[in-house]
Symmetry: C2
Subunit: 301 residues, 2 copies
């Protein structure tokens, strides 16, 4: 049984961003891709040095919040922090984590997106190298995204972030894909980019390949798309001023939808277990080098 | 009149670390160096795009919390966030900031510190928060410090952080000073280092000079010290295994104490106005390049 402390003003999530979040889609009353979300959450706990909660306890908390909301279509946001603590960067021992579940409405989709696609701008965000071990994780230190979101140009639906080396990191709140010579690609996870669950699934099941992309290479893109856990896969119709046909990206959208339907039909038994999901997640985090979870792997591997 | 929204679970400080904090020392019932803290807070608001609160309103909130606590010696921690918001990186308009004031005990000092000095270790931490404009600011994205604090070797009182270029950034929770050829130096603010108020005062009033320092240059140090707003200036007696005499660093401690006494005696009229403090703060932030507060400077300059 995982003990979750109540949320207080002294919570380290507020004080330092010392924790993580997961944003999930509730669709037809089902939580989509829960094993994958829990696997990422577990991995993030591992890197941050937080206790991995009992999966059942977390699900009970989520299901209870969903039931109270009465919704069958929703965005489920889970926050898990290092709990309340005295002032100072050092955590109390033992850590008594805080778990919070927020149920929100699904944002309205623009009906034109499947016809014309999204309009996507481009932002430069120079920076030093962030702590590589934290790259890809959905931790609570999100000022780079907040600043990027404030810098969007008017009239766009999302912006891609380009780092100081000219490489595309992804969208401010989505992962990015482009079609080149008939193959779909996505950039590696670097800097402030998040290793999305939808991205992991596209790479594993729908043949998307990881490759770096500079603004120059984008000129070769025959089509492009974005993804996140709330909206799934969406076609891009205008990329940094260049108009793209959405026909080919809508094929990727359709394949994603078939994968979701398949998953929904075997919801009692996901495509594979959370453990395989975790291995995949780690592989797809692909920031390389910094796997600090040997103990966890050792126990389960 | 600044409107402060109540704190909720949807607070963007919790969700994204979208806000700032200040840690201040209450000494003999007086809040030390308030104009300097408010100046840094204002500058941080400016970089983060948060409304600068009315100084009087913030002081009323602090003084009320101090009075309720009944303490005359305390650590006063102020958190100021972008307030409650819908899910998503974009802030609601207009932002209704949250202000929280926490009053804590002054941590016990080790009586041996003035005799033997602190024992200080060395940590390597590649990277930091990836946005240069955020360097030095006391924003709520503090996972680099949390991870560094967890990595302290046993038996030390603080650790210096060395970045991937071999440069010392400062302590995990303090600024760093070293004496070389009879002059005191402190490293420039880079990466995850915070531009401390005590550091700013030492540079302005006590002749401390900003210079980069690698581990090699540290071998030239005749003495060394640390500072933060809670403890002031403390001597280092052991630096990465090398024993240092604390006599010369205790001279810096004594000079700091005289400066504090002078400030306390003219508490109704600080050494100079908050506006000069702000100019100084910006100069001492010295991360260069990214001053985004032209409007604010223009209005007051």
């Amino acid at each position: 049984m995982t003990h979750f402390a109540p949320f207080t003003m002294q919570d380290r999530g507020l004080a330092y961003g010392d924790g993580l979040f997961e944003t999930m889609r509730l669709s037809r009353g089902q939580l989509s891709w829960w094993p994958e979300h829990f696997a990422r959450m577990s991995y993030t706990c591992c890197v941050l040095g937080l206790p991995i909660p009992d999966e059942i306890d977390v699900r009970v908390a989520i299901d209870s919040a969903v039931a109270q909301s009465g919704k069958s279509e929703a965005v489920v946001k889970l926050m898990y922090t290092a709990g309340s603590g005295q002032r100072g960067y050092l955590r109390a021992e033992p850590v008594e984590p805080t778990l919070a579940v927020l149920i929100g409405d699904v944002p309205a989709a623009d009906s034109q997106w499947s016809v014309q696609g999204l309009s996507v701008g481009l932002l430069k965000q120079s920076g030093g190298i962030p702590i590589p071990a934290l790259s890809g994780l959905k931790h609570l230190n999100r000022l780079p995204q907040v600043l990027a979101r404030m810098a969007w140009t008017k009239g766009v639906d999302e912006c891609l972030i380009q780092d100081e080396n000219g490489l595309i990191l992804g969208g401010t709140q989505s992962n990015f894909y482009w079609l080149e010579n008939g193959r779909w690609f996505t950039p590696p996870i670097q800097g402030s980019a998040i290793a999305g669950i939808v991205r992991a699934l596209l790479c594993r099941y729908l043949g998307v390949t990881i490759a770096p992309v500079s603004i120059g290479r984008l000129a070769l893109a025959q089509a492009a798309a974005l993804s996140n856990a709330v909206r799934g896969v969406l076609p891009i119709g205008c990329l940094a001023g260049r108009v793209l046909s959405v026909d080919q990206s809508m094929e990727l959208v359709a394949r994603w939808q078939r994968l979701c339907d398949l998953q929904a039909n075997v919801s009692a038994k996901p495509l594979d277990s959370a453990w395989f999901a975790l291995q995949r997640q780690v592989a797809v985090l692909d920031s390389g080098s910094q796997v600090r979870c040997h103990k966890m792997f050792g126990e389960k591997g």
